[in-house]
């Protein structure tokens, strides 16, 4: 594991747990903190007598959440402003109230599993104060010793406070000291066009290095295959350096996985004949970046399939893969930008469904099954980027990674939608089978077009009225996606589309879909009536591999606020997913937000409330979310889908 310690100050969660230490950055800060705290606990404390109080300093160390604002303050390490506390879920059962303060007892896994409903968090006033005071060293940066408990705030914070409505602080777009905020607005701009004489080289390089995030794909022999920003001329030196580093460590049989330099994290992934590199300044964890690289690799496989990729390089290791991949830059760019923007779907590796009445969903499922063509393998109905229904064979399920590739192709890259017709796309779904190709029929229909198809299914011609020519397909359209193993199945799937639309029109489901699409995501306040403190939440149903969330409006409307929210979610997600963390509930407090992550075998829930909200309040709100999901489960999730 090549992971040099550094004075890394990216906004990362520091985990001081022995197994995960190797992956954590900011090692120096943790080393220091150790001198001041009791020795670390063994990874799995099994003894029941680990007193809370003795335990506490280490616990506070174990997860101190750093929020993105911190990036601009290089010397801060896990200090009081962003401390959090860890507790375990306790069962609230009558006979057990006596044990409520001995949370380590509940680490017994069998007992965990028996938790069938949410009881309460271990909580006491002691915990509260402990949770907001970090035991990490703060001596070197005294001015930042700001806490929720009224310590002297820093001048910057005071200045900020005077201008701001604290409640909306997450919404701050042009935040006072956050270079990320300004830069992310430029992140997706193209570089300038290279001048013929190379006179703007410096400008180009500046623009290039100002990008917060880079992705590179290179062949094992070091040829550039893909780079998110910059042309070959610009990136070739860097690709060469990356290749040298990678091959040096590969030669030593100790592959380089990640390293950090300042606030920049580099992650390498070797996949067969390809090396993939991610460079991020936005404080993502190694695991998250690695997932992103995996996804880019899946996109390459989806274009070529594994056998053909291997064949290309076994014939000629020095092949320039850009030629076979020609035209797929838009797809790789779409994925990369999605990662940079931050999407809940990517973070949770799951998909979002359109909220729809259970009976409606059943009617749509039945229609799909009724009109199913024998050529069909998978069928999807997608409305406004959200799943409406899935039809699949009993023995095959759809891999979330594959679905992500499909959604990226349909909704991020404009190529499919822009044509305005129907599409027939060969693709490899590596999660399903990385050796062969499937064929995907795609049809985008606005509700009006769907009605026209339904009224004249025989000719099935898209109406060409004057207004319609101006209608460009948008994400508000209904997308019908049928996947077949048969490359000649286009016409049969096309007529299946016609029958489906006719059937949906007859059962008035087109109107129901249009209404559900218009309704969009409900805001938090209407999901949790009665003045909820929550501003946003993500709920992932693990069994269904789906998630649901309220509208980003009104608190996270802009891209920067959205990115900050996603960064916060990413931190929460990371902490609760560190291997062996055994963490079930995580409270995170910062000057910008109060957050809660809660993981059970059934679901993962991440909640965000405004700053200064009491933990109990957030906890109660989280309970309400779970209650709401329980009630709405069959509306917000596809349970089972249409199976044949």
């Amino acid at each position: 594991m090549a992971n040099p310690g550094s004075e890394d100050d990216t906004p990362t969660i520091k985990m001081d747990e022995p197994e995960s230490r190797a992956d954590g950055d900011g090692v120096s800060g943790l080393e220091q903190s150790r001198e001041m705290t009791p020795p670390p606990l063994p990874p799995r404390p099994t003894t029941a007598n680990l007193g809370l109080l003795d335990d506490r300093p280490t616990t506070a160390d174990m997860g101190s959440l750093k929020l993105p604002k911190r990036t601009s303050r290089p010397h801060l390490q896990s200090q009081a402003t962003t401390a959090l506390s860890l507790t375990d879920i306790q069962i609230q059962s009558r006979g057990e109230s006596a044990s409520i303060n001995s949370s380590p007892v509940s680490r017994d896994p069998s007992q965990k599993r028996s938790i069938s409903r949410f009881g309460r968090f271990v909580n006491s006033s002691e915990d509260d104060s402990a949770s907001t005071r970090s035991y990490a060293p703060t001596l070197d940066v005294p001015y930042d010793n700001v806490s929720m408990l009224g310590d002297e705030p820093s001048p910057a914070w005071k200045a900020l406070n005077s201008q701001l409505d604290i409640d909306e602080s997450l919404q701050l777009d042009e935040a006072f000291e956050d270079p990320l905020s300004e830069r992310i607005t430029l992140e997706f701009d193209d570089l300038e066009v290279r001048a013929g004489n190379g006179s703007n080289e410096t400008v180009l390089l500046d623009q290039w290095s100002a990008k917060l995030k880079h992705f590179f794909v290179l062949s094992a022999s070091g040829k550039p295959v893909y780079s998110r920003h910059g042309d070959d001329h610009l990136v070739s030196h860097y690709v060469g350096v990356a290749q040298t580093l990678i091959s040096f460590y590969q030669g030593a049989n100790d592959p380089l996985k990640t390293f950090t330099a300042g606030d920049t994290r580099f992650v390498m992934l070797a996949k067969g004949p390809l090396n993939l590199v991610a460079v991020s300044k936005i404080g993502e964890s190694e695991a998250q970046l690695r997932n992103q690289l995996e996804s880019l690799y899946m996109q390459v496989l989806s274009t070529l399939s594994l056998p053909s990729l291997e064949k290309i390089f076994s014939n000629r290791p020095s092949t320039d893969l850009r030629r076979p991949l020609q035209g797929t830059d838009v797809l790789l760019d779409g994925l990369s930008d999605g990662f940079t923007r931050g999407s809940p779907s990517t973070l949770l590796s799951s998909l979002e469904c359109l909220r729809l009445r259970k009976t409606h969903r059943r009617i749509i499922n039945d229609s799909l099954l009724k009109v199913r063509s024998p050529d069909l393998l998978y069928g999807l109905i997608v409305a406004a980027g959200r799943l409406v229904s899935v039809v699949r064979p009993k023995k095959h399920s759809l891999h979330p990674g594959d679905l992500h590739l499909i959604f990226n192709m349909l909704f991020e890259a404009g190529s499919v939608k822009a044509g305005g017709g129907e599409n027939w796309i060969p693709l490899c779904l590596p999660g399903f089978n990385n050796t062969g190709f499937l064929y995907m029929y795609v049809s985008f229909l606005s509700p009006a077009e769907a009605a026209a198809v339904a009224s004249s299914p025989v000719t099935a011609e898209r109406p060409r009225t004057a207004s319609d020519t101006e209608h460009t397909p948008s994400s508000d359209d209904l997308a019908i996606v049928f996947i077949s193993p048969n490359k000649d199945a286009f016409y049969s799937l096309r007529s299946m589309r016609d029958s489906l639309i006719t059937s949906l029109a007859q059962s008035k489901m087109l109107a129901a879909l249009a209404a559900a699409m218009d309704a969009g995501r409900a805001p938090c306040s209407s999901i949790l009536p009665g003045g909820t403190p929550l501003k946003h939440f993500l709920y992932k149903s693990r069994g269904n591999v789906q998630f649901t969330m309220p509208s980003f409006e009104p608190h996270f409307a802009g891209p920067i606020a959205r990115r900050k929210l996603m960064t916060l979610y990413a931190h929460l997600h990371e902490v609760v997913h560190v291997r062996n963390s055994h963490l079930k509930v995580l409270h995170a407090v910062s000057r910008e937000a109060t957050a809660l992550a809660w993981v059970t075998p059934v679901f993962e829930l991440y909640c965000v409330a405004g700053p200064g909200v009491a933990r109990q309040t957030v906890t109660q709100a989280a309970n309400k979310v779970v209650q709401w999901i329980r009630k709405e489960e069959e509306r917000v999730f596809i349970i089972g889908g249409a199976v044949f």
């Binding site: 035209g327 305005g420 999660g431 089978n433 193993p485 490359k487 596809i638």
Partner: protein
């Protein structure tokens, strides 16, 4: 304009399958977009696989309904082309007049069509992107697209009109130079193809597509790239999506 709906007397209507072939980025999709939606999108993203569009073309004595296969030009999709040109009554082979290699590729496609497509297929050879070289042409186009977005510098004609025309005459093809951006000659190409389709090869409204369907479904060639569903069943547990 040929795409205006015919309100009154029902004319005989027939479907014609048309396939677009040619090197990547010569403007196949843009030509179709201009013909079908009368629109132009600069920097259009490359087509993936193939797009299927329909558009009516009204002739004085009949209506032709084009069923257009707009194929992706990238090399890796070339092996799929037969399923698009099989049973096609017409083909539009496109090259970029500012890129000589694209005419070479177009000639390959024409040779392949003559060898493997239906014998009576009507082929049109189209040199696109006329707008890029309009400055040096007289009488070719009067749209005057002087205000291009900087893509004109360095763009000069690499294939002369005569070269394209001579080749087309030799191979007995229709020939046009077009601009999808300005719309120049686009409808003319499709109208000329519609006129060139022999009356005898026209069937009823669904004739073209129906025949194509049967042919398409009947062919199971090149199965080796298909996924064998059964073979995958024992591939072990996957991170399943229960949806």
């Amino acid at each position: 304009m040929s795409d205006s709906p015919a309100p009154s007397a029902p004319k005989p209507s027939s479907s014609v399958k048309l396939v677009l072939l040619g090197e990547a980025a010569v403007g196949k999709s843009s030509l179709v977009l201009r013909f079908v939606n009368d629109a132009f999108e600069p920097n259009k993203e490359p087509t993936i696989g193939a797009a299927f569009l329909t558009q009516k073309c009204n002739l004085p004595n009949r209506t032709i309904k084009f069923e257009i296969w707009d194929t992706a030009g990238q090399e890796r999709f070339a092996s799929l082309a037969p399923m698009y040109y099989r049973n096609a009554q017409s083909a539009l082979v496109v090259y970029d007049i500012t890129k000589a290699s694209s005419l070479v590729k177009a000639k390959h496609w024409i040779a392949e069509l003559q060898r493997q497509a239906s014998p009576g297929i009507v082929i049109a050879l189209v040199g696109n992107k006329l707008d890029l070289v309009e400055d040096e042409e007289e009488g070719e186009a009067q749209e005057g697209e002087g205000e291009g977005e900087g893509e004109e510098d360095g763009k000069v004609r690499r294939v002369s009109t005569k070269e394209g025309k001579d080749y087309a005459d030799e191979e007995n093809l229709l020939f046009f130079e077009t601009s999808a951006k300005s719309g120049h000659n686009v409808n003319e190409v499709f109208t000329a193809i519609a006129n060139a389709i022999p009356e005898t090869s026209l069937k009823g409204p669904r004739g073209g597509a129906g025949g194509a369907t049967q042919a398409a479904l009947g062919s199971g060639a090149q199965d080796n790239s298909r996924v064998n569903l059964n073979a995958n069943a024992d591939a072990g547990p996957k991170e399943g999506c229960a949806c």
